[in-house]
Amino acid sequence: MAHRRLALLVGPPRLLFGGTILPTDTVVDVPSVTAENLTIVQALLDASGLQPPPEEVERLAELYGPIRRQLAMIHAADVGNVDPSNVFRSGDIRS
């Protein structure tokens, strides 16, 4: 049930990521929504106790496609045997 569409955003600007807005009146290529992504997103939101209205669940499912691609990118990164545990403990990044 994948589909793509062009939309004319009206009303308030949408946020892409922290600090960056997608303003109104901008024609954008809306990411595809798949039934699979919609199902996964609904389940993850349920598991966290979140109850957005259906149109916002759909918007999160739209964004989940790019997130899955981003997650694939970082899992494919060559990070060798890096141990990240000091990230969580000390702010000292000199070593």
């Binding site: 922290g18 600090g19 303003p23 993850l44 109850q51 981003q70 000199r94």
Partner: protein, 468 residues
């Protein structure tokens, strides 16, 4: 009265008897009466307390008690930082106002000890992650260069407050670029310190391991004056790092503006170049010519794992933000602004394993970039801060509002210090910004390079049309 433009000139004027702190603060409040309804700088003004502090500062200076460059200087505070005057709203209806009852954090306390006059709490985006939201009962921050353009965020009021001359310095916070983006859009200088250099206590968290407090001012010298006071570990923040104090002003003045021996790496990663306007890139090349004229050497380099770091930083900060907001999102979904709740809820879609991989990418990227700087003997790296000038509120180009046009987040993910400073104007007459990145805990080097540039140019003194 002609108000001083910088902390440096104001400090001189105060000591020469050309003005007083009370006159300075009063004049800036009077200017805010006129400009703030358009610009949306303040969420709360502390007129009474500020004037008391200003008179005290004047009395101390008259008595020969000089607390240093910030003595009597008007400073604003982003409203996700707790202050004695309170309240703290985080520009949200969800925020529990009692959170701000803790009063000053260590950085606010240090600024007051240095004689700074805290003039009020400044606009942001909801919890530092939303966006300008006309549906909520808060001011919309607007750019003093053109009120139809955005200030950038999330330290929006810190950016437009300094740029419009309503204060001489401001405290901002930066989780993915929130000091550097408004500094870039509003044409001022902002510094994101090394992670761990400035304690975060008293700051409402967005991404625990990505958050930084930093100064926003007209110049690198002014940022150094604020960092002198702000830097240093505090036991209330165990991620802050004990280290020997550094006099950042002395460090940037040490070589009399010469950059002999400084080697600059120009970041030419494809994802930076392809998300930067041609005029922005040219402005950076012009800035590099100035730096070479000051004695620096330059070389083109690519930062390893740059794209992965950009992605890992966004994903990680969403996961960390979600951890804080999860219970409120479950019970008060509709009290959040729509963009805020959607962005934070994205954190629910990232697994524990994904988050650990984000941290591995951060650690690997940090090590590899550090190694590259050592191998190439680089003192600093440079890139544009943003690919484009300030975006329209309505009808901006897709390229300009893309998250990929932000060249800031990687330095939150790695914790490296990054200075943003004005380097020209775009074809619409809006500020463009250069980003100077140094090795961890070598903030003084970034500030010294910025200072050398600002000794040879006057972009940092360019006056916005809406100005006190």
């Amino acid at each position: 009265m002609n108000l001083p433009w910088t902390i440096a000139t104001a400090a001189t004027a105060l000591r020469d008897g050309e003005t007083t702190s009370e006159a300075l603060v009063s004049s800036m409040f009077a200017a805010a009466d006129t400009l703030d309804p358009t610009l949306g700088v303040y969420l709360a003004r502390f007129d009474e307390q500020a004037l008391v502090a200003a008179r005290r500062a004047d009395a101390e200076l008259a008595a020969g008690h000089d607390r240093g460059p910030l003595h009597g200087i008007p400073i604003g505070v982003k409203d996700i930082l707790s202050t004695d005057e309170g309240p703290t709203t985080c520009q949200s209806l969800v925020m529990d106002s009692s959170w701000g009852d803790q009063g000053d954090g260590p950085v606010l306390g240090r600024l007051r000890q240095a004689g700074a006059v805290i003039v009020g709490k400044l606009t942001t985006m909801e919890f530092a992650v939303g966006r300008p939201d006309a549906s909520k009962p808060f001011p919309l921050p607007r750019n003093p260069w053109n009120p139809e353009r955005w200030t950038g965020g999330s330290s929006s009021g810190s950016g437009n407050g300094v740029a419009s001359g309503l204060m001489l310095g401001a405290l901002g916070t930066d989780t993915g670029g929130s000091i550097r983006v408004p500094a870039a859009y509003c044409g001022i200088t902002g510094h994101k310190p090394t992670h761990g250099l400035v304690p975060k206590s008293g700051c409402f968290p967005l991404g625990y391991t990505y958050d930084h407090l930093g100064p926003m001012c007209r110049s690198a010298w002014d940022c150094a004056a604020m960092l002198n006071v702000m830097a240093g570990a505090d036991p209330t923040d165990r991620t802050s790092v004990p280290s020997a104090p550094i006099d950042y002003i002395a460090a940037l003045e040490a070589n009399d503006g010469s950059l002999a021996g400084i080697r600059i790496g120009i970041l030419v990663n494809e994802s930076i170049r392809s998300h930067t306007a041609s005029w922005t890139w040219q402005a950076m090349l012009d800035a590099l010519e100035v730096l070479r004229g000051a004695g620096a050497q330059t070389v083109e380099v690519e930062a390893p794992l740059y794209d992965e770091l950009q992605v890992a930083t966004f994903l990680g900060l969403q996961a960390e933000g979600f951890a804080y907001h999860r219970n409120w999102l479950a019970s008060r979904w509709h009290d959040y602004g729509r963009p805020t709740r959607l962005t934070l809820a994205l954190g629910a879609l990232i697994s524990g394993g994904d988050l650990v991989q984000c941290e591995r990418v951060r650690q690997a990227g940090r090590e590899q970039i550090h190694a590259m700087m050592q191998r190439e003997q680089l003192s600093v790296l440079v890139s544009p801060t943003m690919g484009y000038g300030a975006t329209h509120y309505h009808g901006a180009s897709r390229e300009a509002i893309s998250a990929r046009a932000m060249h800031c987040p990687v330095w939150n993910g790695t914790g490296f210090p990054a200075l943003a400073l004005p380097m020209g104007l775009d074809p619409d007459g809006l500020p463009l910004s250069l980003q100077i990145i140094a090795r961890p805990f070598e903030d003084a080097t970034a500030l010294a390079v910025g200072h050398a540039y600002q000794q040879r140019t006057d972009w940092h003194l360019a006056k916005a049309p809406l100005h006190a």
